[in-house]
């Protein structure tokens, strides 16, 4: 982490950057938050550790409006989202100085809490300079040792790779975290009967409190005016919502980012109710790959997206599996 801070101080001193978009310490040891740092002195609050899961790409839409160059710290998977935003002309590449930072998998405090660990006061071993194999969770009831892998976010188990798609310079080492099949969850649901599928989604989606966190965090959801803010769509409040309205919200949310979703996993990370929202996005990604050829959103900033493109002999809707 010191390496990043010294490099940023250097860039400030050289006058190459006017501010930094990074993460600062949160009020708890496990919730760093995205922040702008206006000067080298402000960097004393800077932090980059295993809990910095937040994807900063979307914040750069705002950052593009500022004067001068902003240094933005991007993890390998965040660069896909950033590329996608460049493609959609939502961010100004000229105003960004992209520092690609290494990643050794990002942690999910909910996974630690789900192990029955309560009263967490501090977590050691999440530092990016360490070997990231073991976490020491200090609690009111004594220390607990947790394997780093067991506390990782779901998205890190199905990591897209540790290569940055767009950057100006790279810092820090990465470590491979891939140990799962990305589409296993989707395939498991596809194998169910319609009744089971319906029950599964009713059970998951009835937890939704319509806080809109998934929409607000999504780097692909960047419309100035959102369809869900319209009062004509009468489910802006949970009280107005009927069972299908919840499914409708999530289907439409996923559909609006279909072909543009980079599967960054932010929606599932921020959901306060723990709904596996990535299952919707991945279903679209899987279908697109199967029906229209493999496509990785955000791999480059030029290629046409699958839903803004077509071929003359696309399959018919009735031929879907």
């Amino acid at each position: 982490m010191q390496e990043i801070i010294s490099r940023l101080e250097e860039l400030f001193a050289e006058g190459k950057i006017n501010r930094v978009l990074g993460w600062k310490k949160g009020d708890l040891p496990y919730n760093p938050e995205p922040a702008y740092f206006e000067s080298a002195e402000a960097l004393k609050d800077f932090v980059y550790d295993g809990f910095c899961g937040a994807n900063l790409s979307k914040y750069f839409i705002q950052g593009s409006a500022f004067e001068g160059v902003t240094a933005i710290l991007l993890k390998p998977c965040d660069t896909y989202s950033f590329n996608q935003l460049i493609k959609e002309h939502r961010v100004d590449r000229e105003k960004a100085y992209i520092i690609g930072v290494g990643c050794k998998g990002k942690l999910n405090v909910e996974a630690i809490k789900a192990m029955g660990i309560k009263g967490i006061t501090d977590i050691k071993g999440a530092e990016i300079d360490g070997d990231c194999k073991e976490l020491t969770v200090e609690t009111l009831y004594g220390d607990k040792i947790v394997a780093y892998k067991d506390a990782m976010l779901e998205r890190c188990h199905v990591c897209k790779g540790k290569e940055h798609m767009v950057y100006d310079e790279l810092l820090l080492e990465s470590a491979d975290t891939l140990d799962g099949d990305r589409f296993a969850g989707v395939e498991a649901i596809e194998a169910m009967s319609p009744e089971e599928k319906f029950e599964f989604f009713r059970k998951e989606l009835s937890k939704c409190i319509r806080c809109n966190a998934c929409r607000n965090v999504c780097p692909a959801c960047s419309c100035r005016k959102c369809v869900f803010d319209s009062n004509k769509f009468d489910s802006e409040q949970k009280a107005n919502v009927d069972p299908f309205n919840e499914s409708m919200f999530h289907i439409i949310r996923a559909f609006h980012v279909a072909g543009r979703c980079t599967d960054c996993g932010e929606c599932s990370r921020v959901c306060p109710q723990g709904i596996p929202l990535h299952l919707f996005n991945r279903k679209f990604i899987k279908d697109i790959n199967e029906y229209y050829g493999d496509f990785i959103a955000g791999e480059n900033a030029e290629e046409k997206g699958p839903l803004t493109n077509f071929t003359l002999d696309d399959m018919e809707a009735s031929e879907r599996r």
Partner: protein, 146 residues
């Protein structure tokens, strides 16, 4: 809720494109070809005007089946509209399968202005399928119903 002895009449929404399918429906009418009155036609400028939200909204408001009709691929009045619609609808219907909605409730059919016979046949078939599937209970507002 059907009264005893009265058979189930499904409510079906058909989105028809102005240039081909709506004219096809017109032809079916003027040729005196019968198709069930359960089908409610909504005219849209092009099949690609159909927002996925329209379809979900129709289901939510009590439709038992939704069918989208457009020009044959290659014949779109706006050259490429139905190609985009085809991709969108394929993905949306696949998603509806995924959340457990019966597969037969949605359909895409290409009907040209000269195919009045095909229009009436398609609608007859589709209404039969929906009759077989029965009332749409998984979608729609369940709060005020028994």
């Amino acid at each position: 809720m059907s009264i005893k002895g009265e058979e189930f009449r499904p409510q079906i929404v058909a989105f028809c494109c102005n240039w081909c399918s709506y004219a096809g429906a017109d032809l079916a009418g003027s040729s005196r070809l019968a198709y069930p009155a359960d089908v409610k036609i909504i005219r849209v400028p092009c099949s690609c005007r159909v927002n996925p939200m329209f379809i979900l909204r129709a289901f939510e408001k009590g439709a038992d089946g939704v069918i989208i009709c457009g020009c044959h691929p290659g014949d779109c009045h706006y050259s490429t509209g139905n190609y985009y619609a085809r991709r969108r609808m394929t993905l949306l219907f696949s998603m509806l399968d995924y959340v457990g909605i019966e597969r037969g409730r949605t359909r895409v059919e290409w009907v040209s202005a000269a195919e009045g016979v095909k229009f009436s046949q398609t609608m007859n078939e589709f209404v039969e399928t929906i009759r077989g599937l029965g009332k749409n209970v998984r979608l729609g507002d369940l709060r005020c119903k028994k």
